[in-house]
């Protein structure tokens, strides 16, 4: 897939995260993987269709997930990834993907997005593409979030 398609997703993070009190996210690494990604513990999958068809997975450790949820909830301590914290993360993935969709439109790809599915587990894999997909690791101010982007 075309590597320039990661930019709308990275830009979405750079746009949205500071609005919620995060530092401006920095790109740590970018790579290409085949078919299946291993969940880091908490994974949010959002699908998109129309001008482009694919999936984006926001993949993170439980610790990163708690850090992000806490920050989103005005610094409220998050001991467990409870329903409220999970709901906040779901909302975040929705906002990020909607923002990325707007960025994709500016590149000439109009896309519709699905509702997010948040998946939690100790040891599971997610196949998001029949071929290769792109992995971008972003630093959100001490904790990382991995973006897996697959476009057909």
């Amino acid at each position: 897939m075309d590597a320039k398609l990661v930019n709308p997703f990275i830009d979405a993070l750079v746009n949205v995260m500071p609005q919620m009190g995060f530092d401006v996210p920095k790109r740590v690494s970018m790579s290409v993987q085949n078919q299946t990604c291993k969940s880091l513990g908490v994974s949010l999958i959002v699908g998109f269709t129309k001008g482009l068809r694919g999936n984006v997975v926001y993949n993170m450790t439980e610790q990163s997930a708690k850090f992000i949820a806490s920050k989103m909830m005005m610094g409220m301590p998050v001991e467990n990834l409870d329903e409220m914290a999970q709901s906040a993360l779901s909302e975040l993935s929705n906002m990020l993907t909607a923002n990325a969709a707007t960025n994709l439109t500016a590149m000439g790809y109009e896309v519709d997005i699905s509702t997010p599915s948040l998946t939690v587990g100790q040891d599971f894999q997610i196949k998001i593409s029949g071929e290769q997909y792109l992995v971008v690791v972003m630093d959100l101010g001490g904790e990382n979030m991995e973006l897996n982007i697959a476009v057909q």
């Binding site: 969940s39 999958i45 959002v46 699908g47 998109f48 269709t49 129309k50 068809r53 694919g54 999936n55 997975v57 329903e83 999970q86 709901s87 779901s90 909302e91 519709d112 997005i113 699905s114 509702t115 997010p116 599915s117 948040l118 998946t119 939690v120 587990g121 100790q122 040891d123 599971f124 894999q125 997610i126 196949k127 998001i128 593409s129 697959a150 057909q152």
Partner: protein, 286 residues
Amino acid sequence: MERLKVLIVDDSRVSCSILQNILSKTNFGTCEVACSCAEAIDKYQSFKPDIVTMDMNLPDADGIECTRRIKDIDPSARILMISAMKDASLIAQGRSAGISSFLQKPVNPNELIDALMFLCQDISDKIGELKDLYVDAFVKVLQKSLFSLVGVHSEVSSHLAVGNYLDVDGIAVIIGLTGMPMGRAIVYMDHDTMRKFACVLLGKESDAELTEEEASDAVEEAANIIVGRGASTINDLHDSEMRISPPGTIAGSNIRIANFKMASFVITAETRLGNICMNIGFAEGE
């Protein structure tokens, strides 16, 4: 659509936990508790419940007075009185204050659910509409597709999902639904059913000939076909433009998938290969 929100107004911890326990097993899952009239007014404004259960005896006012104050803030508030006392005089006073329905403690769970469903009929009508418009189409498509793909007959049933979580041991294929309505479909089954299903679909003589990757790919492709057919059927029936995203396939054990702000339905097909299930969820407000 979100699960319906209930504010329990009762100064007895025991009564509150009994009600919470009953509600946790239903679609009226999200609860807040207020132990006094003042707290009830505060929580009504911050939590914005779909329905309030009201006790008669509160430390700072009675249930009738508390109802009046809530009705002052929101004349359309739905209030159900749940009290140890239930007599003609109390019912008359309650009705004049705007209480729609009365139950006596101890509460029978079925009576409580019926009363809540009745009071929230306008909300439950939306659930009925989603079921009629979309879920029933997926029920038929699942049954037909299983027969055409692997030649199995199935008993298919559907019901409203309880809670925000779906627990999966085996495989789950998540497919996004975009357009109107927006949501997602998940086709899932346990590991053993996945292997049996894949053997039949791929025409393998024995399980030993099948790799894990082939098995999960077979289920993924079948899910893609089933959800695609379902969406097309809905588009034809309702002149809508539902589209499906490519599948995201999750394999493993003890996986928990959460969906918030959704009305979701579980469709189960019982087959000789095992249970093949679908969870169809639609975003709130669609």
